[in-house]
Symmetry: C2
Subunit: 353 residues, 2 copies
């Protein structure tokens, strides 16, 4: 039976991208060798990474003066690399949950950090004013654990750095508003093990301290992400995902479908008397839809999880730090899977009324 | 027609490991989901990483008090992480080629570095004496580009750090002689995108400077390499390779076969009047066998490369920094492929005599 994959990440990828990866593991690009066993310096892989970078830029409409980098180590490593490359004296971190708190912690090793946060993480701080003498502002545009998301590109009058691990390619963005965008690729793009960075070239090389070669974005800019061996399979799969996005109408079409899916599920959460959303309505994420049982039904949580699991729903348990439920509805998740979850919620409502 | 894969890395892996990876990309461990789309926090992946670490320790006979870590970023990132985690004041770097020179360059950002090297890289420095007041000695046990290799475990009386990117699992080693062993996994273990570290726990936590979380080995020790999302597919494939090594007799059997393959090929290089080896005989690598045309046949190099390519030999062109030819003969390369290369060399000899 078909599973409905609501994992928060690593998570669902287009079946076409997985199928193409399987074929390449059998015979990569007519080489007679597996993608797992081919040199990253081969002309065949060179074509893959070049096409992946070009299509990445095309789909996000990335302007001149920006580079797209493929790295390893995950977004968690970027938490240190951002201040390593950008921090001269002081940065502002908007703390909107677990991941931005981790980013902030690393930045404190490199300079003064001003923290901006709400009393809880179920809404995003509004009306932020930033002192001009700030190296950069760091935000997490989508908070995978708490289910909040920025729905517009922010502008604080100083360089903006954004962790977009879980919403990259889910909606059109105005890249020119950002100095750096980074993220783990294992949600909307590729299997785990790949990190993407979009960097405005002119912000680099401004710090006084020395940066180790592999922690310096300029190494990846000048070497086209091939200073050393890159994560070959995830880059290949990323290219297939990018092709799938293009074939299916580009980022604007992803956004339209993601909005439809999220609206359907939030409407059911709001309608169904057993459930309630956890996040301020204006800040609700299109990618990670968090909900809990209403107070009087709290003791049904384990029942609902078991019932949904029996209906082939996978990964809807909320993160251990917040509890309840979370349905991650990334690009590759079909509307059919969202409808199946809604049907499950409605059946559970009937069973318990 | 079957290709003979002599790539230096990423390079040949056991077909069984690739086949198992393909099956897992279709359906991972009976989950009904692809390995590319499954949470690293799932119990199924937890079993994979635990088994991989256990088998890694078993096959290398790793004693108590050592941890095995899986990271991203490649050995090039380790060039910075080693001094970040170990350097208090001074280290000795034995410079035996391109990769150790790169490691040395990063170490200089963290403290004083004593460099030991021969006039060229075609032999290894002997009789090294190290001052007791040295934090560690760094060696590259196998030099992929120049084709030299240490054939015994060294002991300089201070902590020893070794880059074993290209010879890990190729021969038995006495782990107790080392403080840290690290390497890119993309030669004898897994597809590109995975880095392994074997660390003696007690050497950590001795430096005064602060270490960012993801650059601190202790993060990976305490979190079983799962502080953040690890490279899922390469870890899965690594486990399959480790199983293949075990099934085929373990590291001792790999060493026996690698020695046989290397002896066959070096014997042909020494016998065939067209070719000559480039490396001092006692330091010849079992993994990367480098050779050139004799002076009077230099203008036949391009001919031989074309002839060998037509015979389905892949990846035998020498590294751009040294020229000539290089046959990498990792664990998964069969004796049949070495015999095919030897036959090609002999045919070419006949054609040109």
């Amino acid at each position: 039976m078909k599973k409905h994959n609501f994992y928060a990440g690593p998570s669902i990828l287009p079946q076409e991208a997985i199928d193409a990866t399987i074929e390449a593991l059998k015979d990569f690009s007519g080489t007679g060798l597996s993608l797992a066993s081919v040199s990253h310096r081969s002309k065949e892989f060179d074509a893959v990474i070049n096409e992946a970078i070009a299509l990445f830029k095309e789909l996000l409409n990335i302007p001149q003066g920006y580079s797209v980098l493929f790295m390893g180590g995950g977004a968690s490593t970027q938490f240190a690399l951002v201040p390593f490359n950008l921090m001269k004296k002081r940065a502002v971190y908007v703390n909107t949950g677990t991941w931005s708190a981790k980013a902030l912690k690393e930045a404190k090793l490199f300079g003064d950090v001003v923290e901006i946060k709400n009393p809880d993480f179920f809404s995003l701080p509004k009306g932020i004013e930033v002192h001009k003498d700030t190296d950069y502002v760091h935000i997490t545009t989508n908070n995978t654990i708490y289910g909040t998301e920025y729905h517009e590109d922010m502008d604080f009058g100083v360089p903006l750095v954004a962790d977009m691990s879980s919403d990259i390619f889910s909606r059109p963005i105005d890249i020119s508003k950002y100095a750096i965008i980074y993220g783990g690729a294992q949600k909307n793009l590729a299997p785990a093990g790949l990190t993407f960075v979009i960097v405005k070239d002119e912000v680099l090389g401004q710090v006084d301290h020395k940066i180790p070669t592999m922690l310096d974005y300029r190494t990846f800019v000048t070497k086209n992400s091939m200073f050393n061996t890159p994560p070959v399979i995830p880059i290949f799969t990323a290219l297939q995902t990018l092709k799938w996005i293009k074939t299916n109408g580009g980022v604007a079409a992803m956004y339209k479908l993601n909005t439809e899916k999220a609206n359907l599920l939030y409407a059911e959460i709001d309608r169904n008397p057993l459930f309630k959303g956890t996040v301020a309505k204006e800040d609700r994420s299109l990618m990670n839809i968090c909900f809990v049982m209403e107070e009087q039904y709290k003791d049904l949580e384990a029942d609902f999880l078991a019932f949904a699991t029996a209906q082939q729903m996978v990964g809807i348990k909320g993160h251990r730090s917040v509890g309840g439920f979370r349905a991650s509805t990334y690009n590759a998740l079909s509307k059919e899977s969202v409808e199946a979850l809604i049907a499950t919620m409605q059946e559970f409502e009937k069973k318990n009324s």
